[in-house]
């Protein structure tokens, strides 16, 4: 098993958000995490990546046989955990390609692989950029600076394609995307589906799942997973609304 989350409790700003959450993910699988606003979806993504604003107050996360919670954020990244940010950050003056080269070489160094030189690197990213139908000029602009919402999200998946993580967590990657951008991003993600990679898609809407078809759907409510199923669960949810889940969860509690 690639990822095993047990009884995970996470708080932010002294507020308990995740309350004993359990989730298991195997390599090769795509899991969708859905749920109403405030249910803790993004908190889960951030806790996985080690965001300093989120305190784990209980439970465990085992990743690839190791204690994920014991690792610094950059260590997790080097071990193959990638998060596509809901709000990608701008870094003025830092060239997108330069940034990505630093990231890729940090990851490669960690894996004991040789760092790529400029020529090898440029060859690699040109190839990956075309996968995301990215304009080459985006590579030479400052990281996310002046990018449109769609360009930022596309840039996230592009970085994922270059870094080739084992576990990719997509935090509301669909938010703010129009239908064309959504299709491009989803195609990019689908191209990265592979038997040795797991993808966790955090989303509010079923729409994205028309393009990235999940193997499993989990519904988060009140900080824990209240229902799990196959891809049809997402459709059911779309039809009945989150109120239905709250009712079910309330009845079960």
């Amino acid at each position: 098993m690639l990822l095993e989350i047990k009884d995970l409790c996470v708080s932010a700003e002294d507020k308990d958000i995740l309350k004993s959450l359990n989730l298991s993910v195997n390599a090769g699988e795509v899991h969708a995490i859905m749920g109403p606003n405030g249910s803790g979806k993004s908190t889960l993504a951030r806790a996985l990546s080690g965001h300093p604003g989120y305190a784990v107050t209980g439970g465990s996360i085992t990743y690839n046989g190791k204690d994920l919670l014991d690792m610094a954020p950059e260590e997790r990244a080097c071990e193959g955990v990638f998060m596509a940010f809901q709000y990608p950050v701008e870094i003025p003056g830092v060239n997108n390609a330069y940034f990505l080269k630093a990231a890729l070489n940090a990851v490669r160094k960690h894996r004991g692989e040789q760092e790529l030189d400029a020529v090898e690197f440029m060859t690699l990213i040109r190839e990956k950029a075309s996968l995301l139908e990215m304009d080459q000029s985006m590579l030479h602009r400052a990281v996310n600076e002046g990018f449109s919402g769609g360009e930022k999200k596309r840039n996230e998946i592009f970085q994922m394609a270059v870094l080739e993580p084992k576990l990719a967590v997509l935090d509301e990657t669909d938010s703010g995307l129009d239908i064309d951008a959504l299709r491009v991003v989803a195609n990019g993600v689908n191209a990265l589906r592979s038997p040795d990679r797991a993808i966790v898609v955090v989303t509010h809407y079923q729409r994205l799942l028309d393009y990235i078809v999940p193997d499993f759907v989990h519904v988060l409510s009140g900080g824990r997973i209240v229902r799990s199923g196959g891809k049809e669960l997402a459709l059911e949810l779309e039809e009945k609304g989150y109120g239905w889940i709250d009712a079910v969860a309330g009845a079960g509690a």
């Binding site: 990546s49 080690g50 965001h51 300093p52 604003g53 610094a72 954020p73 950059e74 997790r76 990244a77 080097c78 990638f82 998060m83 940010f85 990608p88 950050v89 701008e90 870094i91 003025p92 003056g93 830092v94 940034f99 990505l100 630093a102 990231a103 890729l104 940090a106 990851v107 960690h110 400052a142 970085q159 870094l163």
Partner: protein, 480 residues
């Protein structure tokens, strides 16, 4: 976040790399300043009468002047009588070649990464090395001489090129200019002189390296660069000092004269000892730098200020001639208890004069960073243009950034633009880098370099690399 706070504390603990002292016999005046001392300095240097007169006029003016208080700096009172105004390594009075320089002094510069032996010079850079108050070596002089370029210590220039010194000394920064410049005019000990003849493009970078070594000593150097019509020169200065518990005074004057169609590019990497994390010791750096640009001439100031406990400097341009251009690119960092009040003045006098100001202030620890800039457009400066951009970056929450832009516009056909921003080095930015595998320290360096990019690209290539390194050292550990 807690983690960030802790790392900010860690930042404050890094050590100054150039803090060692060279032990050597030196000829040092006892502390104190009076007319006898001024005469003594002049006598030590065997100066002609006119030079002594200049000093004495300045000294008399200085006695009636008071320190400026308009700056945004907290400075402990300076006892000008406790400073020694002259210190020189004891050596043979005339240095005919490098062989005669005290080997200890040569070793000091080698340790600083400034080899003075010409055959060892890597880059195409001629160096004048100033140790405490005197110039100890100027390299590549013969090669430059072939083209008529004069590059020597100020003292030598007074002897060998009196006509040029008399014509231009004080022509841009008069001896009555301000408290510190006037003090310098009275007691300056040495410095560099450059003259580029008409139409000559100086074939190499010229560089002066300043080192304060002696204790309780002030360093007062003076640089004068004259670029004759249609000539071109790029000049760089660097500076370091040992770690001392008490503050040391540094008051320099730099004058640039760019005659018609000449170009002067003056770059500074200032790394004086900044004091310890509690603000003990460190250089008090009060510098007056100004250039005058005649018709179609261009002056570019680029500075990377990472050292000193106090930095007070405003490299300025008097855009006298029509179509002249002034540029100021600055990165100033303050960490721990450092304070900087720095910026520029662009004085537009000629028609169609243009100026650009790009200032990047970085504050970390308990550092305070002030940008102070003035743009003055005179009534005859038709079509003058200025663009100013002042950006501040804060690291941690105990530091400060301040901006004081002054505008004085007397010609309605001019265009003046000012942009300013203040940002905090975001935890979000750092986390974003970390999530991609980049360690915190590297992330900070990357973000800061990105912030300073527009300035670094103005530096000569080999110095841009040095500046970037220096910056990362001076901010090392500043953020978790």
């Amino acid at each position: 976040m807690e983690t960030t706070e802790e790392s900010i504390e860690q930042l404050a603990t890094r050590e100054y790399k150039y803090g060692w002292e060279t032990i050597l016999e030196s000829d040092t005046f006892p502390p104190g300043l009076n007319e006898t001392v001024v005469r003594g300095i002049s006598a030590k240097k065997n100066e002609p009468e006119w030079m002594l007169e200049f000093r004495l006029k300045a000294f008399r003016a200085w006695q009636d002047m008071a320190e400026p208080t308009w700056h945004n700096l907290q400075i402990e009172p300076i006892d000008y009588q406790a400073v020694s105004y002259y210190s020189a390594p004891k050596a043979k009075p005339q240095l005919a070649s490098l062989d005669e320089v005290d080997p200890e002094v040569l070793a000091t510069f080698a340790k600083l990464g400034i080899p003075l032996e010409e055959q060892k010079m890597l880059a195409n850079v001629a160096v004048d090395a100033v140790f405490d108050s005197v110039s100890v070596a100027t390299t590549f002089r013969a090669k430059l001489g072939e083209m008529g370029v004069i590059f020597c210590s100020f003292s030598e220039a007074v002897k060998d090129h009196p006509e040029l010194i008399r014509q231009y000394l004080g022509s841009v920064v008069p001896y009555t200019d301000n408290f510190f410049a006037t003090l310098n005019s009275a007691v300056f000990s040495d410095g560099s002189f450059v003259y580029i003849p008409k139409g000559v493009k100086c074939p190499m970078e010229l560089s002066t390296y300043f080192r304060i070594n002696a204790k309780n000593t002030g360093q007062f150097e003076r640089t004068l660069i004259v670029a004759d019509e249609g000539s071109h020169v790029s000049y760089l200065e660097g500076c370091t000092a040992p770690m001392r518990d008490e503050h040391q005074l540094h008051a320099a004057v730099v004058e640039l004269v760019a005659l018609d169609r000449a170009t002067i590019k003056y770059s500074t990497i200032q790394n004086w000892y900044p004091g310890d994390k509690n603000g003990k010791g460190g250089i008090y750096n009060f510098v007056t730098k100004r250039g005058k640009a005649m018709t179609d001439a261009k002056i570019t100031w680029t500075q990377v200020e990472t050292g000193s406990a106090i930095t007070w400097k405003y490299p300025s341009c008097i855009l006298q001639g029509d179509n002249s251009v002034g540029e100021f690119y600055s990165v100033a960092t303050t960490n721990n208890r450092q304070q900087a009040d720095t910026g520029t003045k662009m004085i537009h006098i000629g028609k169609n004069t243009r100026s650009t100001i790009v200032s990047k202030g970085i504050s970390a620890g308990k550092g305070q960073n002030t940008y102070r800039g003035a743009v003055k457009i005179g009534k005859n400066a038709h079509g003058a243009r200025n663009y100013s951009q002042c950006d501040s970056l804060l690291i941690g929450d105990k530091c400060g950034a301040h901006t004081f832009p002054y505008l004085e516009i007397k010609n309605t056909s001019s265009i003046v633009e000012h942009e300013a921003s203040t940002s905090k080095i975001g935890e979000d930015q750092i986390f974003y880098c970390q999530q991609r595998g980049i360690a915190t320290e590297d992330a900070v360096n990357m973000i800061v370099s990105g912030f300073c990019k527009e300035v670094f690209r103005e530096l000569p290539m080999e110095f841009a690399v040095e500046a970037q390194k220096l910056l990362s050292i001076s901010l090392e550990g500043s953020v978790g």
